[in-house]
């Protein structure tokens, strides 16, 4: 396997007496398409919250590009190359679609060269790639569900990340829309971006991921290729309770 981009080592996260994550260790290689599955409440979003900096992990270490990042605030992690989308879209509602992308462009990419950069043109380029160009001036509060999901990804991409974490970008979408979003993710991966996908739609995870881990009750119960994962007895038990 090629060079490791992200290494999560024995990460724990507790909420009061509840252990949301226990000794979770996982490595993601540069350029990999990585799937993260597990039943509701298994700790998927908690894990990526720890990686992206929304939560601080209680134990263990998170190393990104060779640097320990688990004590850095979230905005510093974005600047180092970790971007994420949110499960429930969180657009900046007072701004247009385009302006939503200008925020990361100004605060991450061009923060030292604001006077020279044409952030609006750059944002427009990203929107074109996402198929949102015709919505550029629309207030983000007026978007449809699928457009909101795309905006989440577009805004994450505007930070020019090395690692993109997509948190259920496809939940609630029709199968055509799922394909549309999958195409976008495949294209981003071809451009060299490592992608961690959290998803409940199994066909999507299976088609997309090169490697999958399954979480249950805050622990990794299985790791392997998509084919191996679906055949794994523990995974079936976790999902079906059988």
């Amino acid at each position: 396997m090629s060079e490791t981009l992200l290494r999560v080592d024995k990460v724990c996260k507790n909420f009061g007496g509840f252990a949301a994550l226990t000794d979770v260790s996982v490595s993601v290689a540069k350029g990999e398409r990585f799937g993260l599955i597990g039943p509701n409440g298994s700790g998927k979003t908690t894990l990526i919250n720890c990686v992206s900096g929304a939560f601080r992990n209680d134990g263990g270490s998170i190393v990104f590009s060779g640097e320990e990042i688990s004590r850095l605030p979230a905005y510093q992690r974005v600047r180092r190359g970790i971007a994420r989308s949110f499960q429930i879209p969180r657009p900046f509602r007072s701004m247009s679609v385009l302006e939503n992308l200008v925020v990361p462009l100004e605060f991450v990419v061009h923060r030292h060269s604001l006077h020279h950069a044409d952030t609006r043109a750059e944002a427009m380029e990203i929107l074109k790639g996402m198929g949102l160009a015709d919505k550029a001036e629309t207030p983000s509060s007026r978007l449809s569900q699928v457009e909101l999901r795309k905006l989440e990804l577009a805004r994450a991409m505007a930070a020019r990340p090395q690692l993109l974490i997509s948190d259920e970008a496809m939940a609630g979408l029709s199968s055509n829309e799922v394909d549309e979003v999958l195409d976008i993710l495949f294209r981003l991966n071809e451009q060299g971006i490592t992608i961690i996908m959290i998803e409940h739609i199994m066909q999507a995870v299976m088609r997309f991921s090169q490697r999958v881990i399954c979480l249950d009750a805050g622990r990794i119960i299985c790791e392997g290729t998509p084919e191996a994962i679906v055949k794994n007895g523990d995974v079936q038990r976790a999902y079906l309770g059988a």
């Binding site: 605030p73 974005v78 900046f92 007072s94 925020v103 505007a158």
Partner: protein, 322 residues
Amino acid sequence: MSKARSAVFWIGCAVVIALATAVALSMKAEYYLLAGYVVLQFVILATAWNILGGYCGYVNFGTGAFFGVGAYTAVLLIKSYAAPLPVQILAAAVMGGALGFGTGLLTLRLRGIFFSIATVAVAIILQTVVINWRYLGGATGVQLLRPDPLWPFANYAQMLFVLGAILCVVAVAAARYIGTSWLGRGLRAIRDNEEAAECTGVPTLKLKLIACAVSGALMSVAGAPFAMYQQYLEPAGAFDLNYSVSALAMPIIGGTAHWIGPVLGALLLGTVQQVVTVTVSSELNVMVVGVLLVVFVVAAPEGILGLSTKLWRWFARAKAAR
């Protein structure tokens, strides 16, 4: 921000100061100038409040604390060093900025209503400190004699009025710069969704601290000439909750999305308050704030700005339909 627009803005600022000077020098009745000064003082307070409250969505209920700190900083400097007015104003800005920064550091980790409550507490604490500070007059207050006005002004009221106009321009220019720059975009991102802002690279705590410090500095600047305006200062007047309520009501009535909103709100509400105080009663003017606030929150939650945008669109549609 286009250069042409900036030019218009700065020409507008110069015109405002020139007009204020002309009005002040030609006005015989001091009363009107003093009433006008109070309205201008509210323009500064409302503009300052809006930088944190409007752009960033953090409701500061402690405007009175910053205003009072500005007023008492000036008194302290007058009593100790007989410092001139510009020094008092600068010192007030530094104190207000420091207080804003400190309060922000302690309270900005609290969100929503908790932050608001904390700011009320700051006002109460500071008022208690001043009440027990004998050098500053304690609870009974302190009497001051106005110095001679500077050339070309014939009396202190003229000077105060022009000073008010200049400080308004400074406050509005600061608010405009913040509103139209990357800073303003970051603050709006925080208001829209703080977690998403942090995850798109916005250093949320840092930006909130900047907003809190600038807003606090401007509020204290508004308070600096207040003691000389009254020729008297006492804690209950300097740390009055009415300042907090008005500074919040005016931007909400005017519209919080743009720098012009608080200016419109303050001009409207401030003038109505002055008129009502003289013609009806000084008690009723407080009620005016409450009634107008309720009316606007119910009928036009985006303030005069939102209302005018709606009207504009309606006219445009009506024109297109014809």
